[in-house]
Symmetry: C2
Subunit: 274 residues, 2 copies
């Protein structure tokens, strides 16, 4: 039998899905839930413990006590200000060791967290290893397909997202017929799409492109789309969504495709860059 | 006496200022005002003609009829969708000649407009040549100065803005202690700042960095800040603003400095890249 799986659960619907999939596959699961981040529904009926975000010592202690060998990190965590983060002693040690200064980019932070867990003897696995169906496949998923203009917009979006990703800024870009309507930084994809609904020009076109950043720790923090992303893209009257094949998670792929088909949007997995 | 100056006036307060400065210097001015773009106050009491944006033939005809040799383009124009733009015959010719497709980046568009005016025999001058005090000087303008953390944020913002600028995406970036809060695309700096007011982390820090894009036509479309930018940056609780020295326009520099001093913000002209 597979070893007991510990889930460090961030926010959003993804942890619940991963926990459910692991348990459905017969795995024993223990959840570390973060106060103010994890949705309570995610840990309903599942062995779990709540910890504050900065309580690194308590988190590691709970992981050891749970007897887990494998750890999966899933779901976004709002990056706190270091001024409000209540670090325990171990957390301060970690901060000192990493030489982190407040506000450093996400990539280095997640790499540091994964490194620390590995130094403690845990095997850190990606959510896609627990739940194989999560990764975006390559190619077209929907009935609608990108036309020539949309394919140009996708290519342009990949170029912009890749450059931004190198600088550890955001993962998502919206392009309408050659014009970059919006670029994601700290606001997240939902707010980017809400803004682009107002910024779009009259006429057709518009694609959301979402790529993994080159330095992004794939076991901790992959870009994600889900049914809500499709709805937000439809509300912004975009024609479709291009996600990084094999590098991007799709929450509830069946519903994503069903909703996209109903709205006439395309969803396509693109090569982009590893 | 200097030849009659034609002003192609976009939106915002800048055209009025440039027109006022030119007339105060004794120059005769004729304004081409664009319907739905130019503020009516800008042409109040000044010889002018209103034209629709797409009426390229009428615009050129009016410029010739006005007997102007020098033309200045000043103030932003909301880029229309080509679907709604009512192009006259000359406009369609121009579009065909340029091979423009809808939504092309701003840089190429402004270069094309300047090229077309020059081909018609006009001398296109930058707003800063009409009104020398407009360009951001190098160095500190305010009592407050960036501390070490702000200087690091400025350096990071320059790096991000420069990369984005190469792709003809936006000119402005907000960085708070190493974290890129927001990146400007089609929404403009005011909306970027409004968003960053909500995205900022607790604690100090935060700078707006605004650079000229490398391909940006400096006679038609330089990045601009003004008193309203200072107020928006203060509302987002930023510590200051770094603008591209010699490549960025400051509307009403005296008031910019006075307001920044009152709010405790710094404004600094930085080298960036030409």
């Amino acid at each position: 039998m597979a070893p007991r799986l510990a889930v460090l659960a961030g926010g959003g619907p993804l942890p619940r899905q991963v926990i459910g999939a692991a348990r459905a596959a017969g795995r024993e699961v223990f959840v570390l839930a973060f106060e103010g981040e994890t949705e309570p529904a995610a840990v309903d009926g599942v062995p779990h413990q709540w910890v504050p975000l900065g309580a690194v010592g308590r988190t590691l202690g709970a992981l050891h006590a749970a007897g887990s060998e494998e750890v999966v990190l899933i779901g976004p965590v709002r990056r706190p200000s270091f001024a409000t983060l209540k670090l325990d002693w171990r957390g301060m040690q970690l901060l000192g060791k990493l030489g982190l200064r407040a506000g450093r980019g996400d990539d280095r932070l997640f790499q540091a967290i994964v490194g620390e867990l590995e130094a403690e003897g845990f095997k850190v696995v990606g959510a896609d290893q627990v739940m194989g169906t999560l990764l975006a496949p390559e190619g077209l998923l929907t009935r609608a397909a990108p036309d020539a203009a949309a394919r140009r917009d996708i290519a342009q979006g990949i170029q912009v997202a890749a450059r931004l990703g190198e600088l550890d800024v955001g993962q998502a870009v919206v392009v309408q017929h050659g014009l970059v309507l919006g670029v994601e930084a700290a606001e997240g994809t939902d707010r980017l799409l809400a803004r682009c609904a107002e910024l779009r020009r009259d006429g057709p076109g518009g694609v959301l492109v979402k790529l993994k950043k080159p330095g992004q720790e794939r076991r901790a923090d992959l870009p994600t789309i889900g049914p809500a992303t499709v709805e937000a893209a439809a509300a912004a009257r975009l024609e479709g969504i291009a996600v990084h094949a094999g590098q991007c998670l799709i929450i509830d792929q069946e519903r994503v495709v069903e909703r996209a088909d109903r709205r006439g949007l395309f969803v396509v997995g693109v090569g982009g860059r590893g």
